[in-house]
C-alpha cells in the first residue's frame, strides 16, 4: 500500500518538478497571470497548503487544550502532516516572487540593514507569522513525541498547546488579510478571517481523514467535525453570494453538497466512500482558492499551473511518507500498530483535569507566566524600535498596522523560553549558567547579523551643510582649480555625486550597500593610475554601475569633478565618530 502510494506521489512530483523548474527559470510569465491579475497559481496554492497546515495543530493543540480526547497516533500524524504541508506552503510564495533572491527584504529588519521593509504591508506580517508558526510547529511535534518518555516534555506539552492555540488562528487571519486588506472588490469583506480559518480547518480535516483511511482506521469525531465544517463553509459561500453576487457552483457542489453524503450510512461506512468525500472537499477548496485569486476568471490556464498543483501534492506526499516511515517507531510507540483497530476509543484514563481552578491559577498559566512576560517585553521593545524607525524616517503608519506582528513575536519568544527553562533546570546550575552564556553569545551574534556590522552611515551625507571639508584648508591647488571653481564644483559634487560616493568621496555605504554594488574606491594612487581623461570619460558616458552624465554635466565640469575627487582623496579621512554625532543632532 505504502509502496503504491509512494509511486503515485513520485509520479506526481516528477512532472511537478519539471514545471517548477520551468517556472523558476522563466519567472512569473510561466504561469497564467496577466496585466490585470498579477497573482496566479502559486498564491492559490500557498493559501491552500497553509490551510492544510492548520489541521494538525488544530487537532492536536486545540483539542488538547479543550480536553477533547484524542489518540496519540492520530494527533502525531496530523502534526507531521502540518509540518509537511508547511514546507510545501512556504515554497509557493517564494517562487512567486519576481526577484527571488531579494526575498529577505521582506523581513522587518527596518533600517538596520539598509532595507526598510514596510511593516504596514500584509506580506511582512505574513512572513513573520509563517516563520513563527513553522518554528513552533516543529517544537511542538518534538515535545509531543518526547512527552511519552520524559516528564519534563510532558509538563510543557499543554502550555505549549496553549501558546499555539491563538497562533493558529492568528496565522490564517493574517493570510486572509493579504486579500482583505486590498482594494480588489472581490477580496474585501470583514468576514474574511473567519471564512479563511473555516476553510483551512475544513480542508485540513479532510486531509487528516484521508490519512486515517490510508492508515486503516477512522475517527468518528473528525468526520462529524468535517461535516460541520461543510455547513460553515456553505454559510460563508452564501454570505459572499449575498454580498457580492458571485457564487462558484463547483465549489458549492464539491465542498458543501457532496460531503452531505456522509449522512448515507453506506458511504460513511466504506473506506472508499470516506476517501472520495474527503478528496472532493480538498478539490472543492483548491478550486475555491483558485477562483479567489483570479476574481475575473482564470485566463489561459496552462500546463505549468497544472504542474504546480502536481508539485504541491507530489512533494507533500513524498515528504510525508518518508517522514512517516522513518518515524513509525516514534509515532506508534508502545501503542497498538496502526490499522489494527477499526473504531477508536479514547483509552487513556481521565486524569482529573476537570477539577476547578480559580482564574489565573491553573498549572499551565503558572508555567506560561514568565515566558509570556518575556515575550511581551521583547515584543514591546521591538515595536518601540519599529515606531522609532518609522517616525524618524517620516513614514506614515497607523498603530493598527503593527498589531499583526505582536502575536508571532510574543509566541516565538515565549515558546523558546518555555522549552529552554526545563532544559536549563535539568542540567543544573553550572550547566544552566553555561547555557545562558551561550544563548547570550548567540544573541549578540544574531544581533550583529541583524544589525549589520559595517552599517556605519557615511555621516558625510548626513551633514547637509557639507562643511566637513573646509575649502580653505584644501592643499594649495590653484594650478588645477581656483577657489571659486572649487566652490562651484563642490556644489555640483554634493548635488549629483555625493548620494553614492559620499560628500567626502569615501562612499555613502549605508545607501550603496543595499542597492548597488559598491563603487570603486578612488584613492590617490588609483586615480593617478586611471588618469584624468579616462575618469572624465566614465563620468560622461557611464560605466558598469555608474550612470552617464553627458548632457547633464559639461565636459569641463566633469574634469573639474575629477580634480575635486582627487583633492578629496588627498585630504585625510574625517573622523567618523564626530560625523556620526553631527548626524545624530539633525
Amino acid at each position: 500500500m505504502v509502496r503504491i502510494l509512494f509511486i503515485v506521489f513520485l509520479c506526481l512530483l516528477a512532472p511537478g518538478l519539471v514545471s517548477m523548474g520551468y517556472s523558476l527559470w522563466q519567472g512569473p510569465a510561466a504561469w497564467s497571470v496577466d496585466s490585470g491579475v498579477f497573482w496566479g497559481m502559486p498564491i492559490s496554492l500557498f493559501v491552500f497548503w497553509i490551510g492544510l497546515a492548520h489541521a494538525g495543530t488544530l487537532i492536536s493543540a486545540i483539542f488538547l487544550v479543550l480536553d477533547v480526547k484524542m489518540e496519540r497516533r492520530t494527533s502525531i500524524l496530523a502534526e507531521l502532516a502540518t509540518l509537511c504541508a508547511l514546507v510545501v506552503a512556504v515554497i509557493f510564495p517564494l517562487m512567486h516572487l519576481g526577484v527571488i533572491q531579494n526575498f529577505y527584504m521582506v523581513a522587518p529588519y527596518m533600517e538596520s540593514r539598509g532595507s526598510m521593509a514596510n511593516v504596514c504591508s500584509p506580506l511582512v506580517w505574513d512572513f513573520c507569522c509563517i516563520l513563527a508558526y513553522g518554528l513552533l510547529s516543529v517544537v511542538y511535534l518534538v515535545v509531543h513525541v518526547l512527552a511519552d518518555k520524559s516528564a519534563v516534555a510532558a509538563s510543557i506539552h499543554r502550555p505549549l498547546a496553549w501558546l499555539l492555540f491563538p497562533m493558529v488562528l492568528w496565522v490564517h487571519t493574517i493570510v486572509s488579510l493579504d486579500f482583505a486588506a486590498t482594494f480588489v472588490p472581490a477580496w474585501r469583506g470583514a468576514f474574511f478571517p473567519i471564512y479563511f480559518i473555516v476553510g483551512a480547518v475544513f480542508s485540513g480535516l479532510a486531509m487528516v481523514n484521508i490519512m486515517l483511511c490510508a492508515e486503516g482506521y477512522r475517527m468518528r469525531q473528525l468526520e462529524k467535525l468535517m461535516l460541520v465544517g461543510s455547513w460553515f463553509l456553505g454559510a460563508f459561500l452564501l454570505w459572499d453570494f449575498a454580498l457580492k453576487g458571485n457564487l462558484s457552483v463547483t465549489v458549492l457542489v464539491f465542498a458543501v453538497l457532496l460531503p452531505q453524503l456522509m449522512f448515507v450510512s453506506a458511504v460513511r461506512e466504506s473506506t472508499l466512500g470516506r476517501v472520495l468525500i474527503s478528496s472532493s472537499i480538498i478539490v472543492g477548496l483548491l478550486l475555491e482558492r483558485v477562483f479567489l485569486v483570479f476574481p475575473s476568471g482564470v485566463m489561459g490556464f496552462g500546463w505549468v499551473d497544472l504542474g504546480l498543483i502536481c508539485f504541491g501534492f507530489g512533494l507533500f506526499g513524498v515528504i510525508f511518507l518518508v517522514a512517516r516511515l522513518k518515524l513509525s517507531r516514534v509515532i506508534e510507540g508502545e501503542e497498538v500498530l496502526m490499522g489494527e483497530v477499526e473504531e477508536t476509543v479514547p483509552k487513556r484514563p481521565a486524569t482529573g483535569r476537570f477539577s476547578y481552578f480559580a482564574p489565573l491559577t491553573t498549572p499551565e498559566f503558572r508555567m506560561l507566566r514568565f515566558p509570556l512576560l518575556l515575550g511581551i517585553i521583547a515584543c514591546t521593545l521591538f515595536l518601540v524600535w519599529v515606531v522609532g524607525c518609522l517616525e524618524e524616517n517620516g513614514i506614515a503608519f497607523s498603530d493598527a498596522n503593527l498589531v499583526p506582528l505582536t502575536c508571532p513575536i510574543i509566541t516565538t519568544v515565549a515558546g523558546i523560553v518555555l522549552c529552554l527553562r526545563p532544559l536549563v533546570m535539568h542540567i543544573g546550575k553550572v550547566g544552566g549558567a553555561v547555557m545562558v552564556a551561550l544563548a547570550a553569545l548567540l544573541g549578540v551574534l544574531a544581533g550583529m547579523v541583524y544589525g549589520g556590522v559595517t552599517s556605519v552611515p557615511s555621516g558625510a551625507v548626513v551633514s547637509s551643510t557639507g562643511d566637513m571639508l573646509d575649502v580653505g584648508t584644501l592643499p594649495d591647488s590653484t594650478s588645477t582649480l581656483d577657489s571659486v571653481a572649487i566652490i562651484r564644483t563642490k556644489a555640483v559634487f554634493e548635488a549629483r555625486c555625493a548620494g553614492c560616493h559620499g560628500a567626502d568621496g569615501r562612499l555613502n555605504e549605508k545607501f550603496v550597500r543595499e542597492y548597488y554594488p559598491v563603487p570603486q574606491n578612488l584613492d590617490v594612487s588609483r586615480m593617478d593610475a586611471l588618469g584624468e581623461d579616462s575618469l572624465v570619460n566614465v563620468i560622461l558616458n557611464g560605466r558598469t554601475n555608474m550612470n552617464p552624465y553627458a548632457g547633464r554635466i559639461s565636459p569641463q565640469m566633469a574634469r573639474g569633478l575629477v580634480r575635486y575627487m582627487r583633492l578629496l582623496a588627498e585630504t585625510p579621512a574625517v573622523d567618523n565618530a564626530a560625523t556620526q554625532n553631527e548626524g545624530g543632532d539633525e
Binding site: 516572487l97 519576481g98 486588506a181 486590498t182 548635488a495
Partner: protein
C-alpha cells in the same frame, strides 16, 4: 529492478558528468540563443498601434477637487507635481505613448505576451483616453509593498526603487486601475529593449514599473537648482508625453505653485478622475468642460 547500489551510483555519476559536460559547450544556452538584433523604432510604433487597437472599456470618471498639499509626513510644502489631461482636446492619437517609450526605455513584449495584452507601456488608451499611473497622494500600491520599493517622494511622486523590488506584485494587485506593469521578460537579453535615453535605467526582469512622471527630468532640474542655490518649484520641466502631445492636451506642472501652467489651466476647468481612484487623492486628473 535489477540495479544494485554500485550500479545506481555509477549511472548517477555518469548522468551528472554528462550534464556537466553539456554545460561546458561553447554554444549559447537557450536564453542566449534567443538574443536578437536590437529592435527598430518601427517595431515600437507597430506595437503602440497594436496596443491601441485592442478593445478597452472607457473609464468611469467622477468630479474631483483640485489636488492640494499632500497629507503624508515629510511632504513638501512647495511642490506637488502632477498633470491634467484635457479630454476636450485629446483625440487619442497615441503620440504620448510612443514619446513615453522613447523617454523611459520601455521594452517591447514578445508575441505571446502581446496576445495576452501584457504590454509594458506606461501610458495606455482606455477607451480613447490616455491613462497612466495617477500618482495618488494616498497610494494603495505603496501601502501594500512589503519592501518599501514603492514609495512616495516629498514632491508627490509615487516612485519605484527598482533595486529594492522583490517582485511580489502586491502593488499591482492592489492598484484598482492596474496602472502598474510587471517585467515578465528579460528584455535586454531577448533583444526587446532599446536604450533610447541614457538617463533612465533599463529595468531588469521581475520588477514592477510604471509612470515615473519623468522623475529623471525633475531630478535633473532639482539638482541644477540645488547646485546654484534657491527654491526649487520645478518650473521649466515638462514630461515627455506632454511635450509630444500635438494638441497640447497634457499639461504638466506643480499643483502648489500658483504660477504653474497646470494650476492656471486647471483652475478654469472641471476636474475628473477615474471613479475607483478618486478616493486616493490622485495627482493626475482629467479636464473637461468649464472654461
Amino acid at each position: 529492478m535489477g540495479m544494485d547500489r554500485r550500479e545506481f551510483i555509477k549511472w548517477c555519476s555518469l548522468l551528472a558528468v554528462g550534464s556537466m559536460l553539456g554545460g561546458c559547450r561553447k554554444l549559447p544556452f537557450v536564453g542566449d540563443a534567443a538574443k536578437k538584433d536590437l529592435p527598430s523604432l518601427k517595431m515600437f510604433e507597430a506595437e503602440v498601434r497594436r496596443a491601441m487597437s485592442k478593445p478597452s472599456h472607457r473609464m468611469e470618471l467622477v468630479r474631483v477637487p483640485m489636488p492640494g498639499r499632500l497629507k503624508t509626513p515629510g511632504a513638501s510644502l512647495e511642490n506637488r507635481f502632477g498633470m491634467a489631461i484635457d479630454l476636450d482636446a485629446c483625440d487619442g492619437c497615441g503620440k504620448c505613448i510612443l514619446a513615453c517609450i522613447q523617454e523611459n526605455n520601455i521594452p517591447l513584449v514578445t508575441e505571446d505576451e502581446a496576445a495576452k495584452g501584457r504590454f509594458m507601456h506606461w501610458i495606455e488608451m482606455r477607451g480613447g483616453v490616455p491613462f497612466m499611473c495617477a500618482h495618488c497622494g494616498n497610494a494603495p500600491c505603496e501601502r501594500a509593498c512589503p519592501t518599501g520599493a514603492a514609495n512616495h517622494t516629498p514632491d508627490g511622486l509615487s516612485a519605484m526603487m527598482y533595486k529594492r523590488c522583490t517582485g511580489s506584485r502586491y502593488c499591482g494587485a492592489n492598484c484598482p486601475e492596474h496602472a502598474r506593469k510587471f517585467n515578465f521578460n528579460d528584455a535586454v537579453q531577448q533583444g526587446l529593449s532599446l536604450k533610447f535615453n541614457d538617463k533612465v535605467p533599463v529595468r531588469s526582469k521581475g520588477v514592477m514599473e510604471k509612470c515615473s512622471l519623468c522623475l529623471h527630468r525633475l531630478q535633473d532640474d532639482r539638482l541644477e537648482v540645488k547646485t546654484a542655490g534657491g527654491v526649487w518649484r520645478g518650473r521649466g520641466v515638462n514630461t515627455a508625453c506632454a511635450e509630444a502631445c500635438p494638441k497640447k492636451a497634457i499639461v504638466f506642472g506643480n499643483w502648489l505653485d500658483p504660477d504653474s501652467p497646470l494650476v492656471k489651466v486647471a483652475r478654469r476647468r472641471d476636474l475628473y478622475a477615474p471613479a475607483d481612484l478618486a478616493g486616493f487623492d490622485p495627482s493626475i486628473v482629467y479636464m473637461m468642460g468649464g472654461k
